[in-house]
């Protein structure tokens, strides 16, 4: 594995993540994880909807507002967390329903069949509670974290298009979601750090003078914060380790990204053992109290970390690339993540939810994406308004027509592609 320093960002921890785009397709790779049936009830604009599919990828097409993304969101609820829109559980219920909602799926996992389901009961939803029920094969699970043991779901949605130019907090969330797919405790640790920091911020706000109070909370922040930063570094190492060597120019495919973490702890951890970094961070917090009092919040720590992304072949910051290049870079990053997850899980490729992805890509890149997913052996879920954009997948994927809360499988003449000719 290669760890490099990039540019003037002295001490910035950098690794390069890239995707190899093999074009040799030697038969259909076996998929080990795929959904065979999806059922929704009272979820968003779906009252009652159920459809079956085989191991191939799925293409959902339909008009704007027909509910394509809602299907992807429903599938994303089968992973820990709050799904691809980050919505409150109580907002997911169909407006015409009783207030609750459920999503369940049959999945084929290394040849075994598992039923996973999640949802919120109407009374719980009406009370605005933030909990949901998770069932695996009919048995209630103690937390949604267990879903990660069965299936990993990665997604790319239009809202992520501004990732490189937007706020650091968005990139940090993106990064932390990636980290969670490798380290299931990362989410809990991040929440604990957040809680401890809010306690400290409260002290700052109150103008608390007791050094001992600060020390007590800062000790927790240092311990957990260092663990959070270390998990991020490990995840980035995995991304690079599992994503192969950079493609020289990324002609048809997607350019490789050079990733770095810019953050006080992430930076220190590459030079010193974690125990020392923990001490260092305690000192940073202690000596920064006066400054932080002025700001009424904690100014340094893992909550300020940023994911620095550079366009590998062009060696320039991602934010300065063209919109199209940024999209390609993002797709490359998600594919690299999918490969890293696949290898971390013994060859089990994650489900990929790709919302409105074809629209921004030219024919060559679109074809490269389809081939890349085929090679990965992942069941991908595409949405789009233009069925023809998915013509190359005609014989490789299952097409569904989405219309106002109904899902209809398409076949024969309805399918895109050169044969048979379609009118209109």
């Amino acid at each position: 594995m290669e760890i490099q320093r990039i540019g003037q960002l002295t001490g910035v921890y950098a690794i390069s993540a890239s995707c190899q785009f093999g074009t040799q397709l030697s038969g259909k790779p076996a998929r080990h994880l795929y959904l065979t049936r999806v059922s929704l009830s009272d979820f968003r604009n779906y009252r009652n909807c159920s459809f079956t599919l085989d191991e191939g990828s799925a293409v959902l097409t339909g008009r704007n507002g027909s509910g394509k993304t809602n299907i992807l969101e429903a599938i994303s609820m089968l992973s820990p967390g709050r799904g691809l829109r980050g919505a409150s559980f109580s907002d997911l219920a169909c407006l015409k329903g009783a207030g609750g909602w459920t999503v369940s799926a049959h999945l084929s996992l290394n040849g075994d069949h598992v039923t996973v389901g999640t949802g919120q009961k109407p009374d719980v939803a009406r009370a605005g509670q933030s909990s949901r029920v998770v069932r695996i094969d009919g048995e209630q699970a103690s937390s949604s974290g267990i879903l990660g043991d069965y299936l990993q779901v990665l997604w790319l949605i239009p809202a992520m298009d501004g990732l490189f130019t937007g706020a650091a907090s968005e990139r940090r969330r993106f990064l932390d979601r990636m980290v969670s797919t490798f380290d299931s405790a990362h989410r809990t640790r991040s929440n604990q750090f957040e809680r401890a920091m809010r306690q400290r911020n409260k002290l700052l706000e109150m103008g608390e003078r007791s050094e001992r109070m600060f020390e007590a909370i800062e000790a927790q922040m240092a311990e957990i914060g260092t663990a959070v930063a270390a998990a991020r570094i490990e995840a980035l190492e995995r991304l690079m380790h599992y994503s192969g060597t950079p493609v020289a120019n990324g002609h048809n495919g997607f350019p490789h990204a050079v990733l770095a973490l810019e953050g006080v702890l992430e930076q220190a951890l590459q030079e010193r053992p974690a125990v020392d970094v923990e001490d260092d961070y305690s000192h940073i917090l202690a000596s920064g109290r006066d400054r932080d009092r002025g700001a009424k919040r904690t100014l340094s720590g893992p909550h300020r970390c940023d994911l620095i992304v550079r366009h590998g072949p062009k060696d320039m910051p991602a934010a300065l690339c063209s919109t199209g290049e940024q999209k390609a870079l993002l797709i490359g990053l998600v594919l690299a993540h999918a490969k890293a997850v696949k290898d971390a899980r013994g060859g089990l490729a994650p489900l990929l939810l790709l919302d409105e992805i074809a629209a921004h890509l030219d024919d060559l890149r679109r074809e490269a994406l389809f081939e890349e997913i085929e090679t990965l052996g992942a069941q991908a879920w595409f949405t789009g308004t233009d069925r023809e954009a998915f013509a190359p997948l005609r014989s490789r994927a299952q097409f569904f027509d989405i219309d106002d809360g109904t899902v209809t499988p398409m076949e024969g003449k309805d399918l895109p592609g050169p044969l048979p000719m379609r009118v209109g």
């Binding site: 640790r189 109150m206 000790a219 927790q220």
Partner: protein, 201 residues
């Protein structure tokens, strides 16, 4: 307008029972009906027991435990080891430890944990009294038996700093594999804590 099924006395009883932890309106109604049906065997003795408890129960001036006497039965028990003080967040924790019968020493109930977000500082807890007790001759160990939460651990850190110069041992509960636990089912955090606090056999 909703019709009432019973007179104000019964409604009042149901409303009060419904404010008990773990009882909703439905179970409060069931409990009220049960009490009324068993008026002599249950309701009157319960009312008497509650009246007496309300009258007599006080917080122990020494450790903060609840009892009808102060100092409490535990503090007065001469067979207990006076060198050990076990500090807990709440009385419920004291009861849990007593049920297990694992603490040979005395207790100290803190009344909560430090949490600036909830407006709870050192002066809102019985930390001052604890420091005073810990400095009494004969005390050699203070065991901080707190929850493994951010607030519990911050409070432990704070108290251990307060007692730094008291010349006594400050210990905390072990974190790790529960009795009867299987490694396969433990989360990574618990496993890491167990490895960190491993002991030679």
């Amino acid at each position: 307008m909703s019709r009432k099924a019973a007179g104000p006395e019964i409604e009042e009883l149901i409303a009060l029972l419904g404010r008990m932890p773990g009882l909703g309106p439905r179970s409060a109604r069931r409990a009220a009906l049960h009490l009324i049906k068993k008026r002599e065997q249950l309701m009157r003795p319960l009312a008497a027991a509650m009246a007496e408890a309300a009258e007599k129960i006080v917080a122990c001036a020494e450790c903060g435990n609840l009892d009808t006497i102060s100092p409490c039965t535990i503090c007065q028990d001469a067979r207990r080891d006076a060198s050990l003080i076990c500090v807990v967040e709440e009385i419920g924790d004291l009861w849990a430890l007593e049920r297990a019968g694992v603490i040979s020493g005395h207790y100290h109930v803190l009344g909560g944990t430090l949490s600036p977000l909830d407006g709870i500082g050192p002066d809102d807890l019985t930390i001052g009294k604890l420091v005073e007790r810990a400095r009494q001759p004969g005390v050699t160990e203070v065991l901080l038996a707190f929850n493994a939460t951010i607030e519990g651990q911050s409070t432990a850190h704070y108290i251990s700093a307060e007692l730094e110069n008291a010349g006594i041992t400050i210990s905390r509960l072990a974190h790790g594999v529960p009795v009867g636990g299987e490694l396969d089912y433990l989360d990574e955090g618990t496993l890491a804590a167990a490895i960190k606090s491993r002991r030679p056999l």
